[in-house]
Assembly symmetry: C2
Homo-oligomer: 382 residues x 2
């Protein structure tokens, strides 16, 4: 089966390598025919081209594997490929989470499918496990440490008592964090992954702007000192919950108890857990990113298409996100205490307090109303 | 697709319930037609029978799901079913690990297959993940906390400083451990699971008697005190390694470093990790046993057969186990110090020492030669 590869960077070159190496008989049924690259400096392989139309108009190419990243032109290329009746496999969580409804609708209309195992969890076979679990169970909920960069920062802050800014700089130096770290530290990367996990777990589409999202940009040593004093560990957690007519979906730092498996996930690892009626809690731990693990996930989807096995169902229901349904107890550190008078249960330091048990929506609304841009909020495990 | 269920205990009744409940369209394609039970007190459902021949000779029944446990008559019934051209799904690790070659050969000869996802890992989709990973990668090795009972005992000994005997009695009271706890505490249960994982991961059959096996029966508080003083955590680990012409496979308590994900697996949970070239280390954590999670795994195999998807390859090569290839550093506590003079690197207490770096085989031979039945051995992570 002939593949047109879009992008030849970290993930794309891994996909090319795995297919060229052909370690298994399934992989040897695949072949990369063309590779779209950005500029002439990347024309390192005779299959490389600068012209997307050479892929789009090649009837031999049945699948387009999009590993470019970014919103455009990735979205336009993916859509054009679907309109030409080509399958699309993508590792691009931001693009797919943003244009999911559009691309899925285009796929259904053209009798093909969009596959996205690599968009979430990198080397963790999370999406495939959801597909398999759902043959027997409905998924009730999932939660995950979906972002290795923030896990790395939080782990080192905890272990070494270092400041956030210093650890962020180190993560950038090691190549874990981007120059513009916003997607990681403000929780957007997790938001995209939560959105696509809801798509897969609950067969539902939702507006990503409705996913309540808090990051770790404002975390300070004193927040982790509170954790240490109370045997808690802070992790940035993405969550999805199925409630029938609606879902809850949110991203928030959580103070976890020490016997929670998630509280011991090291450095830049990811961990994701689903909960369903008969399987119960099933968790996956692995490298959440990296060239070969992510490329492995892309190639798994190519094999899925070649085998015509468990075909993706891109025909989904749109369901609203409602975070009133999720209640918790929150740790909030803010210079604007007065704005939170109604929901404070007890103060735990000069600037920080623990709320009463309230809905996530109520907590988020109070944070927004306070206008405190330096505020830090975390949910405290009960 | 009509199923004959053998056994209506913890797992069998879970299988019957999941299929009768029919939560998904895939499950609704399955139906339990007959249930073999042990005695008249179990004739609780009109489908129950005391006569296996009613299942064997029913041409409508295409699959036999064996959830009886024990070696016989489970083995004989499974073999007869295969000889009649029926597929066999089993949750019975001891029976399958013991008679794997015989049953697989019978399956191949009769054009059917044996499926065993539930035999190992209970609710952890371990076997299915191996199947999927192997579409793209060869598996290099795996290791796992395959036994929840021993993990429970070790965790409570560590946290509460309790004695082994007391914690074993408690695990028995809670129903985690059997009245005869040998399969758990002597490592046999893990040995069966390691053997079947080798079958799945490496496409290889081996003599289970060649799998070097040490349990935790002789562990004492002082061994865990040594761990605590050196920031190590003791877990009973099963390992398989692929070396081309041969494999290494063994079960031994390991003293793990505190940042190892496995050192933080709580109570009666299981954790299993595979390592392969492009996916890297991928770990799974979940309830390793229990009625519904294990039954879920049986039903997944029934769906596999119904979908005729990724059919099992029961035609395997026999490869020898060679534990010379695995080298390590070992902690040994024994009253017969003198027998180990050649391999001692340094003493760490009156009775315990750390070995030089030696092969597992050399360590095992020295233990056997010492004749000390109260000896405790663990591998120390380097």
């Amino acid at each position: 089966m002939k593949i047109g590869l879009l992008g030849h960077g970290v993930v794309g070159s891994g996909v090319r390598k795995i297919i060229d190496d052909g370690a298994t008989w399934e992989v040897r049924e695949l072949a990369v025919k063309r590779i779209l690259v950005k500029d002439e400096s990347e024309l390192t392989d005779p299959r490389c081209t600068l012209n997307f139309d050479e892929i789009l108009n090649d009837p031999e190419i049945e699948i387009v594997a999009e590993c470019m990243g970014g919103l455009e032109p990735a979205h336009t290329f993916a859509k054009k490929a679907l309109e030409k009746g080509k399958y699309v496999v993508t590792s691009n969580k931001k693009m797919l989470a943003t244009y999911c409804e559009d691309l899925f609708e285009t796929a259904v209309r053209n009798g093909v499918t969009v596959h996205y195992e690599a968009s979430c969890g990198g080397g963790i076979p999370w999406m495939a496990a959801l597909d398999r679990t759902r043959r027997v169970d409905d998924i009730d909920s999932f939660r995950g440490i979906f972002n290795g960069t923030t896990n790395y920062i939080l782990e080192r802050m905890k272990k070494e008592g270092k400041d956030f800014d210093e650890m962020l700089a180190e993560a950038q130096k090691l190549g874990y964090a981007e120059r513009d770290p916003s997607d990681d530290i403000d929780g957007y990367d997790v938001k995209y992954k939560v959105s696509l996990s809801c798509v897969k777990a609950f067969d539902t589409l939702q507006d990503i702007n409705d996913i309540t999202t808090f990051g770790i940009r404002n975390i300070r040593r004193e927040d982790l000192e509170y954790c240490a004093a109370n045997s808690l560990t802070c992790k940035l957690i993405g969550t999805g919950e199925f409630h029938g007519d609606y879902i809850s979906a949110f991203v928030i730092p959580m103070f976890l108890k020490s016997d929670d498996v998630f509280s011991n996930i090291p450095l830049n690892f990811n961990a994701i857990e689903s909960d369903s009626k008969t399987l119960g809690a099933a968790a996956f731990v692995g490298q959440g990113a990296g060239s070969l693990p992510t490329a492995h996930a892309v190639v798994q989807n190519l094999v899925d298409i070649w085998k015509n096995q468990d075909p993706e169902i891109n025909d989904k229901a749109v369901r609203p996100v409602d975070n009133q349904a999720h209640t918790g107890v929150y740790y909030i550190r803010t210079a604007k205490h007065a704005a939170f008078a109604d929901i404070i249960d007890r103060n735990v330091s000069e600037h920080a307090f623990i709320t009463k048990k309230i809905s996530l929506m109520q907590a988020a609304d109070a944070c927004a109303a306070s206008g405190d841009e330096k505020l830090f909020i975390a949910e405290v495990a009960q």
